[in-house]
């Protein structure tokens, strides 16, 4: 089924009239067939206008340096939810909770400063031990010599347990976290995760009530190392309104859920494509320092971020007008051969592996990047320690989305 880069597909993409090139088609991402679109745009039209798409007209920014220019210019390129927010699909105006990822300075800055210290290196060290114990328990429970789905048994379970650890969330209820995260980001519709917008909002209210309960418990107890307790006791956070508290909490859950999950699957999948790289790492586990950021680059768990132009500006020689929708395709910039050598390959010992776009740059740069890296490092350290021989049995099924670049399943077997 790997029709990804068959010549005819590539040829078809390169022969399209330029003005009909529209990479924002969820089906392309589901089929992993978006690459030739971006290759062509980087070569022929790096800042590209698509007049007609299911998401309306939009600009594609496809080269590393142009993406950096947009991401660092928040004065012109707005993240405001009321203008459409941060993804190509316009955000609903009635979205219930304020999140600083979809705000501009100065409000963004004030909120971010409150949350950021919670996932700073010093605090992460407190959580590392529990996260490692839980990762070990999951790895040791996996079947040997038998096919299973890596996404469900490992990636989802690990990320969910890690979230539960971070929030000290009642462990038996942990899959609620995954559910709320999925519901918060889904588009309601028949046959979808939720059928109606009413159902969606009802589930988010349930999430809100649950977390208010935890907050009330923790605010009256001595301070602990979990995020809810830190928010409840922190000097700068304890006076947040319930709305702010919940918005920030959901942002942390959503931010850390699919992204980390898909990096865990993406790493294993990449090693199956580049087995010699895994052997290099196996021979020298110290290379994990460069391998983890390289996996995150190669996977690019969020394919894009969106901005809305607040004023006219020229970018790459193109006239962007106030009000235009601008898509920073991280998935393309991370494969920009001008910045990254052999960008399509996973290389565990790159010279500058941390220079990638997966976490964005500028004032919105991912707050959870160190946490994500720590989680991935722990899992791969434990896999290497056990020298698990994991065989990927087939191609994964991918998510139908131009935003979340990830996997629905990946069949594997552990030899031995």
């Amino acid at each position: 089924m790997n029709h990804v880069s068959t010549l005819s597909d590539r040829h078809a993409v390169w022969s399209l009239p330029l003005d009909q090139v529209n990479p924002a088609q969820p089906q392309l991402f589901k089929d992993d067939a978006q690459w030739s679109y971006f290759e062509r745009l980087r070569a022929e039209d790096p800042v590209h206008y698509t007049a007609d798409s299911e998401f309306g007209p939009y600009w594609s920014v496809t080269k590393y340096k142009d993406i950096m220019a947009v991401d660092t210019n928040h004065k012109v390129f707005s993240s405001l939810s009321t203008l459409g927010g941060i993804s190509i699909r316009d955000q609903r105006a009635d979205f219930p909770l304020p999140m600083f990822i979809a705000m501009d300075p100065p409000i963004h800055d004030a909120q971010r400063k409150v949350v950021s210290p919670i996932v700073a290196p010093g605090n992460l060290a407190i959580l590392e031990h529990t996260i490692r114990e839980r990762a070990i328990a999951i790895l040791d429970s996996l079947p040997r010599g038998e096919a299973f789905d890596w996404v469900d048994r490992v990636s989802i379970e690990l990320t969910t347990q890690m979230l539960a650890t971070l929030f000290d969330f009642p462990f038996q209820d942990r899959r609620k976290l995954t559910r709320w995260s999925d519901v918060a980001t889904t588009v309601a519709g028949p046959g979808g995760l939720v059928e109606t917008e009413e159902q969606r909002q009802a589930e988010l209210r349930e999430c809100a009530a649950y977390f208010m309960g935890l907050w009330n418990q923790r605010v009256n107890a001595p301070p602990q190392g979990d995020l809810v307790s830190m928010l409840a006791h922190g000097e700068s956070t304890r006076n947040m309104t319930p709305q702010e508290f919940l918005g920030n909490l959901i942002l942390l859950i959503v931010g850390g859920n699919d992204t980390t999950r898909n990096s865990l699957t993406g790493g294993l999948y990449a090693f199956s494509k580049f087995p010699e790289q895994y052997q290099k790492l196996r021979a020298n586990p110290a290379l994990l320092d460069s391998t983890i950021p390289e996996i995150i680059r190669w996977q690019t768990p969020l394919a894009h971020m969106r901005r809305t132009a607040l004023s006219d500006i020229e970018l790459g020689g193109k006239p962007i007008k106030a009000g235009d929708k601008v898509i920073m395709w991280y998935v393309s910039g991370n494969r920009d051969e001008e910045m990254i050598e052999n960008p399509n390959e996973l290389v565990v010992d790159r010279a500058r592996p941390r220079q990638h776009l997966s976490f964005g740059f500028g004032v919105h740069r991912c707050v959870g990047n160190r946490l994500a890296e720590m989680q991935l490092r722990i899992v791969w350290e434990e896999i290497l320690k056990r020298d698990l021989d994991i065989e990927v049995l087939g191609e994964p099924e991918r998510v139908l989305s131009t935003f979340i670049k990830g996997y629905i399943n990946l069949p594997v077997r552990i030899r031995g």
Partner: protein
């Protein structure tokens, strides 16, 4: 040319010869000084090149830019002498510069 000393959080020092015109971040990263990541390559857009400038060098290294101020405000464990060292340019006047790195970049 300037000789720059980086002192890690655990006390280990690293002395680096840096050429005029390059940034202090670049001097660190190109010489594999641990504790400075420089994820954005010097665009003042990641705050992973955070250092503490020794007080006697604060005047010579100058003041923070507006963008630097904003990015630093999101970093962990900042102090009055915190700088993003991609925004400090090496010159003869900085020969002997001493900076310290935090316990982690965030």
């Amino acid at each position: 040319m300037a000789k720059i000393t980086f002192i890690e959080h655990n006390g280990t020092s690293h002395v680096v010869e840096a050429e005029n015109g390059m940034s202090v971040m670049r001097a660190a990263v190109d010489n594999n000084v641990p504790g400075i990541d420089g994820d954005c390559g010097g665009e003042c857009a990641c705050a992973t090149c955070h250092v503490y400038v020794e007080p006697e060098w604060q005047a010579a290294t100058g003041a923070r830019t507006e963008t630097e101020e904003t990015m630093l405000s999101f970093a962990a464990a900042t102090q009055d002498n915190s700088r993003l060292c991609c925004q400090i340019t090496v010159s003869d006047a900085l020969d002997g510069l001493v900076v310290r790195t935090p316990d982690g970049q965030h």
